[in-house]
């Protein structure tokens, strides 16, 4: 029983005391921040980013906070994998200005009763909340990010998925004028555009799955997938597709960009799992930006008690 409780704590990421993993100053700052945010339940977020993007009003959702210290705005917005801009980590920030996020529409279609094209302004009118999630990149680094968004299930309910819908496919904008990384390079290969990702319908309907429009109290910076992206915190970062123009309900498992590019390295599920290695590196540890020492990676990125039941009986080594 004790072991079981220990495991549960591990799955929630509570096995490490926060004071041990967080610099005390940050820890105290965070407590002040939480207290401040609680006091201003309906006011704009207590966290401010040091940029000039439009502020975004959101309710802080107390169910989705973390003991971990937040990653700085600078690090979140300067160290990105976003191949539409380029393959280097600094390409997205450097080249982000070419992306124009207005006008912008998102088609929600496929196996549903009411397929709808949403304008970005309509999407911003959903009940926005601030949630602090861990982000674990498949490259064994991680961040802690205060996102702003709303659950995907709120959006899917509007279009009324039919009984045949089993999966959801996400599609990123294709536009080489806005995304220089989509131009053909010298060697002529990169990912197949558009970038597509997918979730099983139960994963898509899970309350953790967040359609995201902002971070740190402001609208999303372009390099973080503006104006509209998905965030799936218990899966490796590449599952959380950015700059979406289409969400499609399907009967069959969607083809996903990295799986097409390297099927042995990136599976459809790609749940964070310290026991299943990437073929070229171990997933047992990760570097929390900007810490020096590695830390142990948590099963389902610490969201096990909320999501593990969706995978009961599945061989997670086979369905990596």
């Amino acid at each position: 029983m004790l072991i079981k409780r220990d495991q549960d704590r591990k799955l929630r990421g509570e096995d490490i005391p926060a004071s041990e993993i967080t610099a005390e100053r940050l820890y105290l700052d965070r407590r002040a921040f939480i207290a401040g945010a609680a006091a201003l339940a309906l006011a704009p977020s207590g966290v401010r980013a040091e940029s000039h993007l439009a502020p975004l009003k959101a309710t802080k959702n107390q169910a989705f906070t973390l003991p971990d210290a937040l990653t700085s705005y600078k690090n979140i917005t300067s160290y990105n994998n976003f191949y539409e801009f380029g393959t280097n980590k600094d390409d997205p920030e450097r080249l982000q200005a070419s992306l124009k996020t207005r006008p912008w529409t998102v088609k929600v279609e496929g196996l549903c009763a009411k397929p709808t094209t949403f304008d970005i302004e309509e999407l911003l009118k959903f009940a926005l909340e601030e949630r602090v999630y861990r982000l674990r990149c498949v490259e064994a680094w991680s961040m802690v990010i205060p996102w702003i968004g709303f659950p995907l299930k709120d959006l899917l309910k509007r279009v009324e998925p039919t009984g045949q819908a089993k999966y959801v496919e996400f599609t990123t904008l294709v536009n080489p004028a806005m995304f220089p990384g989509q131009k053909r390079g010298f060697f002529g290969f990169s990912l197949d555009w558009p970038y597509t990702e997918g979730l099983r319908l139960d994963e898509a309907m899970h309350p953790l799955t967040l359609m995201t429009v902002g971070l740190y109290g402001q609208v999303l910076p372009n390099q973080n997938g503006a104006p509209f992206r998905v965030v799936v915190p218990w899966k490796y970062g590449f599952k959380s597709a950015k700059s979406l123009v289409k969400i499609r309900l399907t009967a069959d498992e969607p083809k996903t960009a990295w799986n097409k590019a390297a099927p042995s390295e990136y599976g459809f599920y790609s749940n964070v799992n310290p026991q299943v290695d990437h073929p070229r590196w171990s997933q047992a540890t990760e570097r929390r930006i900007p810490e020096v020492r590695r830390r142990e990676t948590l099963m389902f990125n610490g969201y096990g008690d909320q999501v593990a039941s969706m995978y009961t009986g599945m061989d997670l080594k086979k369905f990596y």
């Binding site: 990653t71 570097r287 590695r294």
Partner: protein, 219 residues
């Protein structure tokens, strides 16, 4: 090349080779090495090592192609600088990246081909660095020393493989290194073939001449 030219060139090689290290140290002190400094440091050191190793491998082809003699003097210096960067690169991996987690690193060396070939390249370069002095050349004898130092080609190939195999799909930089290494090896192969053909041609010519006709006394 004049001796003054050589001194200037040598100074330039030293400055250019140590420049990346200086930039890293300055960046470390200013906390300005991206959000993931350890990854950035590891990559920069590894890339510099590979550039220097290929530069060292490029000296002989320069001599072959342009009949210059001076590049040979830089072969050893560039090779040793490459070895230095590889050692720092490896130390950062051990001490900063994995913080002396020996078991985990051992597993990585055995299980991850890109790490296996990287470590192998380092190991192969150790005897070359040790025997790089004039004294060692004398002690080993020219022929044996040259044979031993052919390992540098293997290390070069392993180094490029290390880079190629660690790269994610879509990254094209490693392919430029494959092309450069291929070109450097091709020049040597061409030169080796040319000399072989030259020798064979010489021997063949010898034979075609046949026995020198004896001047006929009756003529």
């Amino acid at each position: 090349m004049s001796s003054r030219g050589r001194v200037v060139l040598k100074a330039a090689v030293w400055v250019a080779s140590l420049w990346p290290l200086g930039v890293l140290v300055r960046g470390w002190l200013a906390d300005d090495l991206t959000a993931n400094p350890i990854d950035y440091i590891t990559r920069t050191l590894g890339l510099t090592a590979l550039v220097l190793l290929l530069a060292s491998l490029g000296m002989t082809p320069l001599r072959i192609l342009f009949r210059w003699s001076w590049p040979i003097q830089f072969r050893r210096l560039l090779g040793l600088l490459a070895f230095f960067y590889i050692c720092v690169h490896f130390s950062v991996w051990i001490g900063l990246d994995h913080f002396f987690a020996w078991k985990r690193m051992g597993q990585d060396v055995l299980k991850r081909p890109f790490i296996t070939v990287g470590v192998l390249a380092l190991v192969l370069l150790i005897p070359l660095a040790v025997t790089s002095t004039q004294g060692m050349i004398k002690r080993l004898g020219g022929a044996r020393w040259r044979l031993l130092h052919r390992l540098v080609y293997v290390a070069g190939v392993l180094g490029v493989l290390h880079f190629l195999w660690l790269a994610k799909k879509g990254r094209t930089t490693p392919y430029y290194y494959v092309i450069v290494l291929g070109a450097l090896l091709a020049v040597r192969l061409w030169d080796w073939g040319r000399r072989r053909v030259g020798r064979m041609g010489f021997e063949a010519k010898d034979e075609s001449r046949g026995p020198t006709p004896r001047p006929s006394s009756s003529a």
